[in-house]
Structures are given as C-alpha cells and as structure tokens.
Symmetry: D2
Subunit: 307 residues, 4 copies
C-alpha cells in the first residue's frame, strides 16, 4: 500500500498575526516551524512569506530566500512554494517566487472564486495591525482571480523549471478546469490534487462533499492523480481522517487551521502533524518520508531547485 | 404532486448569431420566440436583450422594453429578466434592466467563476460579426465576477421591488454562498434555485453532479427551495429528465443549447419546450401554468411589474 | 450512442388476477400481451406462466409451451424466461422451464432476501381466489432463497445451453454476489444487469438508490456490463427516466407495475411500453430492435432456442 | 458534541478457533477479553457463547451465564447479547439467551441474506476441529434467515423485557425493513443502527458504500437513530475512521476482524479498542463511558438485566 504524504502549510496568507501568537511570521519562525513539522513527519512543507514587521503576506522572492536556505540546509523535506500568495495579488506577482526559486512543488489554484474571509471578523475583537481587519473586510468584494489565461501563464512560466504542482481545487469546477489543461497537455501525470474544503467561497466540508470531489477526480483522471485533502478550521482532522480512510494524502498546518482542539490553539505546526499521525497510525498506515513523497509524486529532487 | 415549471431561456448572451439562424436577436424575434415557448408550455421566459444589428448582448433597459410590452400584452407567462447579462459587464450594468422593469423574477448568479466559452471556437469556421470570435476568444481571460458585495448590491437594489430570484448556481460553492445570504436574511424562501450544468468553468453535467447539487441543496435548504435545472448543450434533455424524475423543475431554451438532436438545430425555442414535455408526459407529470408557477414560487403577480 | 433496450415483463408472479383485469393469465393472453409489447417497441419479453384457471404461478415447462410457440411464430422479439418463478418455489423447479426451452435469456436472482408482498393486502378488499391473499399473507415469512449454491446450480444447468442472463439485483449485495461468480468465471461479459428498485425486502426506489446501484456496478464491472432498471409500482417511470438519462436500458410491464397513471390501471403491457418510449424520445434516444438487442447483449439468436 | 461509543464484539460465531489462538472460547476467556476491552475503552461488549471444548457456537442460555456473572461483577460495561447466534440456527434458538438474560441491548439482524464464509477456506490449510471447515464449506448453501415474521418474533419476545436493540444492517434493504417495523411501532427511537460492511452476502466496505448506508439511514430515520459501523476484516479501521469522521459510533472486536495489522493477529480485543482510540483521539473526539452510552442509547440500566 502507498504510504501517506503529510503536507504541512506553515503560515499561509489567510490567518493574521492577531489570531494566534503561534502563527509563524518572520523568516526564522517560518523556518523553525517548517523544520519542526518535518521533524514530526511532514514530507512536504507548503510555504508563504510574510513581512516580518506586520505579518502581511509578502510575495517578493527575496522574502522567501532566508527560510528556504535554512530549511534546505537542515532537512530533506520537500519544499512547496505558493503561487496563490494572497488572493489580492496579480498572477504575475504570485508566480514570481516559484519562478525564481524553482522548488520541487508549487501550488496552483485551478479556478476563480469568491474568497469570503469576513466571517472571521466576528470572532476577533481587536487586531494588532490595521491591515488585518481591512484585509478581512475587503474579502466581501474579493474575487480570487485564476482565469484560464492566468493558469496558463503560471504553467508556461514554471513548466520549464520542472517544478511540479499542488493543484488546489476548491470546488468541482476546478477539477474540470484541471482536466482541460490535462487534455491540452500542459500538465502531466501523476497530478497532485489538493482538494480544499470548508472555505466560504468554495465547497463545504461535509463528508458528502469530500467524497464528491474524490469521485469526480476518479472519473476525470483515473489513476493519473494522487489525492490529498485539506479541511479548513474545525473540519481539518475530520476531512483528513475521511480521506486517509479512502486512500488519500493529507495536508495540515496553520495556514488551514489555527486550532488543535476546540478552544485550544495549536502551539506549533508540528502539533498538528503529530495529531494527524495518530489517525494514520490508528489506520495502520505508514507515513511517507520526503524521499518516498518524491517517488510518489515524481518530483525532480531537492538538488534541482534554485535555492 | 407539484406540477413542473418549464422555464425557457430564449436567447441569452453566450451563443452568437453565426451559430444558429434560429437564435432570436431583434426584439420582435425575441418576443415571438418567447410567446411561442409560452404557447408550447413554458410558464416562465428568461430574457436577455441583444443589439438588433449585430446580435451583441445589450443590457440597456431600453433594449428590453419593446419585447416586454409585446409579451405582456399577449400572454400571462412569467417574465424573468437576466441580471447575468454578459459576464463581461459590471454588476451595476447587469442589474439595471431588472431595476427599471421590476419583473416577477430576475436571475442572479451566486458566485465568481471562470467562463470558458472558447471551446466553441473549434466548432465554427467563420463568423458574421467580428465581436463573436473576439468574445469567445476573450473568455480565456474572463472571470465572471459575482463577489459577495456584488450579490448584495443586486439584492439590495431589487429586494425593494418585490422581484424574486432565479438563483443560478454553477457549482457547490454557489449553493453555500446562497446559504450565506439566506442566513443573513437577504433572501426569502421559497428560493428558486437554478442549478446549471455543463459549462466549462462550472460543474459538469454527469448524473453524479446533478444529484450532488440536489443533495447539497437539500442539506442546506431543506424544504425552503424549489429546484430547477439547466443542462448546457448536449446534456440539456438528459439533465432535465434526471431532474424531473427526482421532482425538479426544468429549464430549456436556446440560451442553454442550440440543438434539438445531434446535428439538428432547434428551429425554435418552442421546439425544445415541446421536446421536454414528452419526457414530463412520459413521467406522468403535469405542466405548471404561469398561474401555478406564480403560486409555487410565491411571485408578486404579472400586474405588479414595471412594464 | 447505444440504442435503448426496452424489456417488458408481461405478467410475473407477484401480482394476482384480482388486482387488475388486464393482467395476462392464460397462455393466449400472455402471448397476445407479449406480442403487443413487442409491437409497441419492446425488444425483450420477460415471461412467467400461470395456471389458466386461477392465475397461480405455474413453473412447469409445459405451462410455457403454448405461448412460446405463438410468440416465436409471430415475432422476432427476444424471449427471456424467468428462473425466479415464484419466491415460494425451489431452485430446481424454478430453473426447469429455462433448462427445457433454452431461451436466449433467462432471469437469475443474485441473492437471498425477504420478499414483503403483504403491504398489498391493505389495498385490496376482496380476492377472486383463496390463494391470492394466502400468498400475500405468507410473504411475512417468505425468504426468497438464492444461496451461492442455488445460483451455481442455475448457472451450471443453463450455461451449457448458451442461454445468457438477466441478472436481477435487488440490493448492493446482489452485485457483489454477481461479482463473485464473475471472478470465478461462471458468468461472462457483457453481463446484463437488471437492478430492481422499490420492493419491500430489497433496496428502495429513491434516486440516490438508483445511482448507488449504477455506481457500484460501474466500480465492480467497468465496461463489462449493460445496465437496465425496473422500478416497482409508482416508481416505474421515474426510475426508467433517471436510468435512461444515465445511459441505461429499461424494463416495464405488468409484472413490475399494474398502473399507467395514478388511479389508472394499465390496459395492456404495450401501454407501458408506449409510455416509456415518450421519455426515450424526449431524450432523443433510439429504441433497440430485437436484432440490436441481440447484438448489445451478445445473444445466441432466436434460431438457437429450444422451442 | 456527542461522545463516541466503542462497541467490542468479543468472539462472534464466524471465526473459528483454528484461525487465531487469541479468539476467546471458554467462558473465562470471553469474560476476561470482554473486561479487557471495557478497560481499554469499550462502553458496550457484544457477546456470543461457544462450546468450551471445541469452540463451536453455543446459543443455549446456560452457556452465557458464567461470563455474564463475571462481567457484571467486575464492570459497568453495557452487555449486548447476540440474537444472531449462528446463521445456521433457528430464530427461536437465537433469541433464547436474550429472552432469559434480558440484557440492556440485544443484536437483531434486519433481513435475510446469503452468508458467504467459504472464501476463508482458501486462507487456512488445516483446522483443529472438523466442524470448522464444515461450517465454512456449508456457507455455500447458507441463507441467514430473518424473515419479517422472524424479526417480529424477536421483537415481540424481547420488547416486554425493555431490552433495546443493536439493529444489524448488512445492506440497504435491511434499513428499509427496519423502517417498516418502525412505521409499525414495534421499535422505538433512538434506534441504534449497526451498519455492517464487507461480508460476502452483504454490502461491501468501499467508502461509497459506507456513506450510502449513512445517507439512506438519514433519509429514513432523520434524528431518530444513532449510527454505528463495523467493517469486516481488513476494512475494520478504515470503516471506523470514515464513520467517526462523520459523527458515527464504532464497533471493533475479534468477531469482525482477527487482525491488528497486515499479518499481525490481534492479541486481544483490547488491542483493537486501543487502536481505534488512536483514530478517535486524532479526531479530537471523546470516548463515551458506559454511563454515557446508556444515556445516548436510552438504555434501561445495568441494574435491570436478568443476570
Ligand atoms: Zn497556501
Ligand atoms: Zn441568462
Ligand atoms: Zn419475473
Ligand atoms: Zn455477533
């Protein structure tokens, strides 16, 4: 049986520093948290960068450099760089870090959608930085733009670097969009499909919805894909357990969920990795090492990156 | 048992004049085709306007006026005005005709999405008007924008007119977005939900996908909605038959599909209405009259419109 | 696209003469009704025999002879003989007519189950024959016995005659049982699977259940089967429409449903065939002739039967 | 959130002593293993008895007495007595232990089915007792008989004792059968429904099948039931994880599966309880105590049993 790849999304761009003191912000924090996750069993770390002063998402290639060097030096974990960046950014801006650093994996969002972060405004009374509530409030009018042309731009920019993709699919249509690019020959099997559940603007996190995405991907791609899931917020472990029981890989991390239990903030990314391992071990499943993840996903190898 | 509402979408904005000589373009053609559909059994006609010279979508309120008057004079069919307009337009422009004419029903798109019309370029060699291939080609970069703020704008503009909505849902997320507005109290039951299948950028038209949308709507809205379907292109009658067998209402018309059979263009909108009636009659189902549709959907009545 | 095979189950053993004056009982009635169904478009007639005096199911080979001769003489319709007989009979008794007459198709029940006919007692006040209420009442304790050994007995008896099968599957487990025999090499593709909905003791007739059976068969058999459906009672046309929209074949007939519309008894088997044709025509689907059905199901031909 | 009830089925009647040295056979072994499971976290123990000499299923009430006394003395775990016994027994014989000992819970099989144990013959070369291979071989012709009348007999015998039920449902039809008895008023909410996956003769253990049973039960029973699952053999933990992620209760134990990991026999029932707890803890779910299980299932209390 295939081993299970744990991806850990260390910081993302959705949550803000005021929501959790444990959200990694500086390059040092991101590096340390990523390495902790790898140590705990994550084979892949999915990385965003932030402005070290105020925690704002920073998609400049330079912002990624310090933690990339540290992580590469300390671990053979697979590095996955976001091209999602923040939904407020242009696709050119979003693709730049991956284009410069040529990681083994880059995330790629497979469709346009609303991105409703504003429900989080109800949960937090005060914020350290003005940009935080402004960003959440702005999501009322936020369209995360990933047109066919945008996606093609990302593929044509990154394909020459032999970077492969974590295709982030937030609803059925994103799978069909991916199928279009697959039919066009712009993406190659094995496709690493990250189905994403529970964010307002995307599909929900009900078990029917998780199975629906799997069933649709099976129909469209047969054996040509590797399935992974992420559940936002409180659905994180439920979605992971359901998917793991069905043969899927799992993503955890503070990008997707700040919590460990009801009312208990996750102290580290590693804590969530450790938690999902309990489920996998209960299922009798083995955890993939970075080397095994490279094989499962047909990656180019940690020695072929640009950092 | 509830009777089945047949909606007919007479011309839309996706297909272009070169694709079928039967596509209604002028106000007279639109009126005639709408009345033919009503005569054939449609209880609701969903209407767009076009520039009479070149067939380009025209969302100015004046473009709607001539056929609205003719239709109202000749028939008690329920009039449903698009607020989708064309995906290239701003929401303010799209909402204007419904704001001015205050129809019983206005369509409302429940989320942002890619709108991939470009596959049609492969099927047509030449076009009568330059705008036609340009519009299709442009869809590579087309994001049909319906942010939460956009939708709220439409609702706040139209709610005071007592217009009700045909909520067009092209994927699971659109149902969740609708649920958000329902939770906020901005929309009222019975919700008329048009689930839309088979357009690139939205969910596909596989029977699993049709049932998935129904199942999700059942879970989110219980008895508070009335379900209708439209299948794009060749899926039109299949999607209608599946939904009718499951208790749903159906939409047909040249906006969604230009064909009657493989290789046979539909000569009129009425021809598709007549065709779907065969399915309904085979099922032993009765067709709703406009009056019955008004009751099922709790509409304000044809005497309370602005035209 | 494949044409649609309409099977017609002319009389069966579940309904009784008191329930409808139109239920064929004598050999002459069965022959006439079968031929009428064929004339109306059925490519296959599924046949049981009854005692001409009291309508009781009669599984003696001699009871089948008179109508087999008439039907063969008058039509090229495919003849399908029951091995279900009545759930009260032993498998040896049930298999005998097919063993003697070597039809192109014989039905075969793929598992044991309760067979709850007693709810029909509530609908009928009086009966012409004592055996009728006794049979219905007896179904409280009726187990329709089709053990693995029983099914193997039927296959080993009929396989040498080159008869093929209509595998009647009343629930998920019956598909798995069939898969077992397929894995053992006792049955050959293309498998003609009749999924049966809405009888108490089997799966229900909800659209979710219809799709579930299709989905399970797809997973177990891939392209190695041809799918057909029958819906009991009021579900008959709904199940047919859903399946036809999904690429399935359909079975109608008075064995499965005595009605044409709510409160209207079907005057003939042909009336139900005609009714389901409306659905198929609305879908733009072509009806398979007997010759086309023979090709789709890989049958031995009407000249290779034993009557 | 409701806590999760772990049931442990300690020995059953399907597996035989030659298959695992750890299968409890004598009353002392059954008591010890049940208590170990309770200690490990099982709130309910589901119990069969066996002949202490040769391990053959023994459904005489006397066979249950010794371990019932020991268990009651040592633990407040909820005792659940089988009325399935062995599929070879008559319903009268099967119901007797529960009728005599009046436990808080008795299992009840909700339909007739084939029971294909013979595939296990391929895995074992030799047996200690002649009855073992004979029992497996005999399952080719085994119909586990649970007619409507049989089930009614069990209910009418046990309802007066205020015993409640673990309704064992091996396929969709069993849920519909249960719904029939619920409609008739013979069973009362909250119904404790044990959906059983992966035994040849019943539904399989694919995630689609697990969700199908849940979805069907939701449709038939709404909030009137509590859902539990058991997966046979290698599917045990997968089915448990999927169900737990969906809000279900879980059953483990050597009746359902002899193994802990591929190639590793479970040394005790407790080992499987401990294993499933890892999954539940990974999910952040709390385990129900016996007292909490009594509340969730509305049981009569351990002081109201007949032992
Ligand atoms: Zn990210
Ligand atoms: Zn429109
Ligand atoms: Zn029959
Ligand atoms: Zn048991």
């Amino acid at each position: 049986m295939t081993k299970v790849i744990i991806s850990c999304a260390v910081t993302g761009s959705i949550h803000t520093p005021s929501m959790s003191p444990h959200l990694p912000v500086t390059a040092a924090e991101i590096a340390e948290s990523a390495l902790g996750a790898a140590e705990a069993g994550a084979a892949i770390v999915h990385l965003h960068a932030r402005n070290p002063q105020d925690g704002r998402p920073d998609q400049s290639p330079e912002a990624f450099e310090p933690f990339l060097k540290v992580i590469k030096q300390a671990s053979d974990v697979v590095v996955n760089l976001t091209t999602g960046g923040s939904p407020y950014m242009s696709v050119e801006e979003r693709v730049r870090p991956a284009a410069v650093w040529k990681p083994e994996v880059a995330s790629l969002n497979m469709g346009s959608m609303n991105f409703g972060l504003f429900p989080m405004l109800k949960r937090y009374k005060s914020f350290q930085h003005d940009w935080e509530p402004a960003m959440l409030e702005g999501s009322h009018d936020l369209v995360f733009r990933n047109s066919f042309k945008d996606i093609r731009y990302a593929l044509e920019t990154l394909n020459p670097t032999a970077t492969r993709y974590e295709f982030e699919c937030y609803d059925t249509s994103h799978l069909h969009n991916l199928h279009y690019f697959w039919s066009e020959g712009l993406v190659q099997a094995p496709l690493f499909i990250q189905t994403c559940f529970g964010l307002l603007g995307g599909i929900g996190a009900h078990p029917e919805e998780v199975l629906h995405m799997k069933r649709t991907a099976d129909r469209l791609f047969g054996d040509n894909y590797r399935w992974s899931v992420l559940g936002a917020g409180a659905s994180q472990m439920k979605v992971a357990a359901q998917a793991a029981a069905m043969g899927g890989h799992v993503r955890v991390g503070l990008e997707d969920n700040l919590w460990l239990d009801k009312g208990v903030l996750a102290p580290t990314n590693a804590a969530q990795v450790t938690r999902v391992r309990k489920i996998l071990e209960g299922l009798g499943l083995d955890i993939a090492s970075p080397a095994e993840a490279r094989q499962i996903l047909a990656l180019k190898g940690g020695d072929n990156v640009g950092f």
